[in-house]
Symmetry: C2
Subunit: 704 residues, 2 copies
Amino acid sequence: MTTPVLPDILLNPRSVAVIGASDDPARIGGRPIAAMLQLGFAGRILPVNPNRREVQGLPAYPAVADLPEVPDVAIVAVPAAQVLDVVTALGERGTRAAILFSAGFAEVGGDGVARQDELLAVARRTGMRLLGPNALGLINVHSGFVGSFASSIALGPVRAGGVGIVSQSGAYGGHLVMAAQAADIGLSSIVMTGNEADISLGEVVRLLVEDPRTGVIALYSEGIHDGDGLVAALQAARQARKPVVMMKVGRSEVGGAAARSHTASIAGDDAVVDTVLAELGVVRARSTEEMLDIVRLATRGIYPADNTLGVITVSGGAGVIVSDAAEELGLPMPAMPAATQARLLELLPICAPRNPVDTTAQFVNDLSLIRPFTEAMVSDGGYRSVLGFFTYAGATPAVAPTLREQLSRVRERYPDRLYVLVLQGPREVLRTYEEAGFTVFEDPTRAVTAIAAMGRFGRAFAARDVLPPPAVRAVSLPAATPSEAQAKQILAEAGIACVPERACELAESAVLAAREFGFPVVLKILSPDILHKSEIGGVLLDVRDEDAVREGFAILTARARQAVPGARIEGVLVARQVSGGVECIMGIKRDPVFGPIAMFGLGGVFVEVLRDVVFHRCPFGEDVAEKLIRSIRGAPLLLGARGRPVADIAALASTLSRLSAFAVAAGPRLQAVDLNPVFAMPAGQGAFAADAVIEVDPLPSASR
Amino acid sequence: MTTPVLPDILLNPRSVAVIGASDDPARIGGRPIAAMLQLGFAGRILPVNPNRREVQGLPAYPAVADLPEVPDVAIVAVPAAQVLDVVTALGERGTRAAILFSAGFAEVGGDGVARQDELLAVARRTGMRLLGPNALGLINVHSGFVGSFASSIALGPVRAGGVGIVSQSGAYGGHLVMAAQAADIGLSSIVMTGNEADISLGEVVRLLVEDPRTGVIALYSEGIHDGDGLVAALQAARQARKPVVMMKVGRSEVGGAAARSHTASIAGDDAVVDTVLAELGVVRARSTEEMLDIVRLATRGIYPADNTLGVITVSGGAGVIVSDAAEELGLPMPAMPAATQARLLELLPICAPRNPVDTTAQFVNDLSLIRPFTEAMVSDGGYRSVLGFFTYAGATPAVAPTLREQLSRVRERYPDRLYVLVLQGPREVLRTYEEAGFTVFEDPTRAVTAIAAMGRFGRAFAARDVLPPPAVRAVSLPAATPSEAQAKQILAEAGIACVPERACELAESAVLAAREFGFPVVLKILSPDILHKSEIGGVLLDVRDEDAVREGFAILTARARQAVPGARIEGVLVARQVSGGVECIMGIKRDPVFGPIAMFGLGGVFVEVLRDVVFHRCPFGEDVAEKLIRSIRGAPLLLGARGRPVADIAALASTLSRLSAFAVAAGPRLQAVDLNPVFAMPAGQGAFAADAVIEVDPLPSASR
């Protein structure tokens, strides 16, 4: 039973049945009809109501069976107990999709879960797709198709435009719509997904990516059910150059269940969300206001991959505020060319021509300066984004018409730049600038945040194919969590180098191994039942001679027996003691949403105390791995800080990317990998895992 | 020549002379008069203009000498070349203060600096205080006294209220005023300080602290000239329970000159500003919008020291957004009592009664639930702050009147709580809530940020006296930067313990010292001309026997001679080699604004790579020192992380606070102290500086 492709007809039905249709436009079953009538929806509306011949002036039908045609989409607004019958009837008649307003399913727990499963079974059997249940539904602003009972639709028509809103929350979706209205943001479609029994967040995003009316997507999410689907949709958005701004809330909830291995315990799932969104070029907004600011500027359709900011301001103070914010966001503000600076100083001796270009209030007194100054910034400065701070002066009747006209001439000549103005004043004056192609903010810091986001979209859209992940042979995981030696063997087959070592069942073979590797050596207890050896004193460092090896063998086996009675003890692992490298840590944890996630950090106090680690979705190539390694705060320790040798970054990157490929090849039974430490040796000398733990879901037959 | 106290008459003059008065209300010399006439300023306005008998309907006088009375305050709007004569005439007649609009002084450099110095000399001689020059001046909104030519005043009267604005930037001050207007924030006084030749930012803040009409202060600063004065004013504000919100811009500029010592090079001056403002209970805003949000809520006058947040919401999503933001800002959201939760569930079975209390949209359908729910939160939940998320529903005609009335009854019964609503809708509807005592935000995240700030004010106002700094005997610094041994001697007198060591002129006395301390020892070159010994190989660790001491003595003196030819070599320092402690670093740097600043961090990679350091203005007691020590990211290493011994925090704190007291006692010639490392031994075993550098400004006679 595979999931049928979501038809775009969900967004653009030619005919809509409303089951539970009401004559009262204020009732849930009446609202969509009233709204569609008001908005002039051109499709056929087919009310179903057993008690009325007519609903809101439209002919009504007693039941689904009585409908004169198979509707493209049905809206279901009946009590929970009737939903299954209605959905069955709709599906069997061949309806393509149903929007289920009705509540009382998985969200109430208990029986509701089973009722929802029944709905899904019917949907799969009949090939009909379901939005919801417990969904506030969807609105196509352009066509006037309203498959929603949101109370906000009663407040008047929504301004049409290019922004699609997808929200898992109905109530917050309504808030977003009203906030977008207040900000003059035009909307294409609004989809509120409810319980997502069938149609997932990712499918809805994909629908909007393919919708020609949607250019920018605002996404509000409380929990992602289908990570792969969302990732695919976001990749499609990037491919289509449609920016996605996302609020993923619930940062403060830490997925506790996944904390089994040491690696997994280091950071909560939110860090994974961050890394996945960053990888896909999605800008994660910290607040609704920030989301809408970014969305609003994104509707200009200009996403400079090589974003730079030029600032022209009537206030030196505003210039400093903007510079602070730009530096914090990594948005470069290069200086104007020296010759241009000299020219501007001739035009206006009291100006500061570097960047920010501070014209002082003198600018407002001589409006003829506006065009040469702004044009100099765009042409000579070459800035991809220009921010003009004109505050309330720019909105006064004496200034506004000329300022707008002068700026417009620059914009017409250089239409590929982002033009943002910071103004204070009456809404109707600010709108004249918006209509002339300038995006207006009242706060300079918010303006910079939005400008910086456009560059992030641009870089994501421009990103060329990166190196492919390394090829890894098919991995066959053991039936249960393997011993350290087995784990290293498995990893070695994936091309991950380990410190030379040997599993020794007897003390005398340990002595032989130590002699071969050279002293000092490290001894570790070898048991599939003891994962974290150091916690039971199962590791001895600095074992300096043969007698010490014999003694150590005895100590370790005794400690293991005492700490884990009944543990299977397979002997002792003898390893060469590596020195001169930087201790790193690498790992894999399986994220419940996004699958295997690789982790890298420096070892010891860095990972334990400072949590200086980075994550990335698997798999990835060496170039991505190297970027990750260089992005940790402690990276200078690998790069030769304070006279240290430079570490073998290439070998580290190779190991990390191989680990990521291994994690994918190993499949969903792989729960975690923990390589701690990995010694990054000086450049050219490689990187070696000195300890390895692989955790797997045991096969049923292997469970003890 | 001491600075006379700034008279509050500057804000409330009974008579105002305007020198360079213009009949044209649009000209700089005309604007203040026009504005005062329009606003009904009750004091006497005395225009001075040599060419007119009348200015804007008022009798005018040819010169200062002709004025019929001594004005309390004079506004000076004449060209730079005439300012000195005018100021002299005003001062000699006994004018208390002058506001100098005129530009062309220190801000243009060169001769302008000298011209400004001349003005100041006249002011000091005559006892008249100066605001400016190059100042946009001040406005007392309540009295209608306008000593400003800000163009914004031409846009209509400013709404009167309790917020004082102080801005170093004229143009940005105007932007702030207009932004405050747009946010319905009522203002008391607006002061733009210009060049601050005489009256400083701190003095203006103090003026507003003492102004009964001002309850909240918004402060915009680009550079602080008089750190002590500002600190004193901010302390007075805290004492008077007047919250101060500050934007200190220029975060991205790092004071380069102060990077002389290792300590000083670790962080820029902005970290110092952060620590000083935090100490004084000032909330530092990241943007204008954030400043005005906080200021607006602060005008309610409720600053709960034990702030907690209760959230009541019609959207579960909004509840999550608010919870995320609250956790990030450290604002607690405790759960409702279990019994109350049960009671609320009885009232509304589909609600989530914990906190956030999610009532769902059902709430809007049954408005009688509003009061019992909100009252339960305030009384049973005991929250000091309540945030209600009602979005657009709360602003609809069907809901607004009842919601407002029900909430008002709760507020009247519990008037000491902060009530914040998140609403979307027409401005006039939102105003009805504001007038009823509820502060309205359109974005939930902004609301939480403002609420959290009220708690920070509350804690600052409630803070009781902390421990006094330790008493330190008067310090007499040497004439020039001392050797390490001298430095340690000086510090020992201030009660700062150092690792046992002895200065040895000869190799054989070094051997004797080593024998006494026990091997291994550390040898260090001893020279007042070599500050950073390790950089020239001037430190030998792990010196294990007597022969090694002799050999080391020879090596060090040879290296020193080679590295710094002509250096005065006083021998070698022999020190016990300490082991088992945690390496810390402590230091002092002299901040050009705030004087001596103490620094603490962990040593080695922590300070070098991670810059994990904290700062505090000197002096301070052991309690503050301990809080600082515990606040570094790496603090777990001192507190027994992963089985380490707990370090002697008390001894560290004592050392740090003594260092802070020493820095003050040493006076302004002390440039820097660098104790690196300081060994924090296990609890009860003390903390010892193993190396000490003291840098002093040489006395003229000591310069070489």
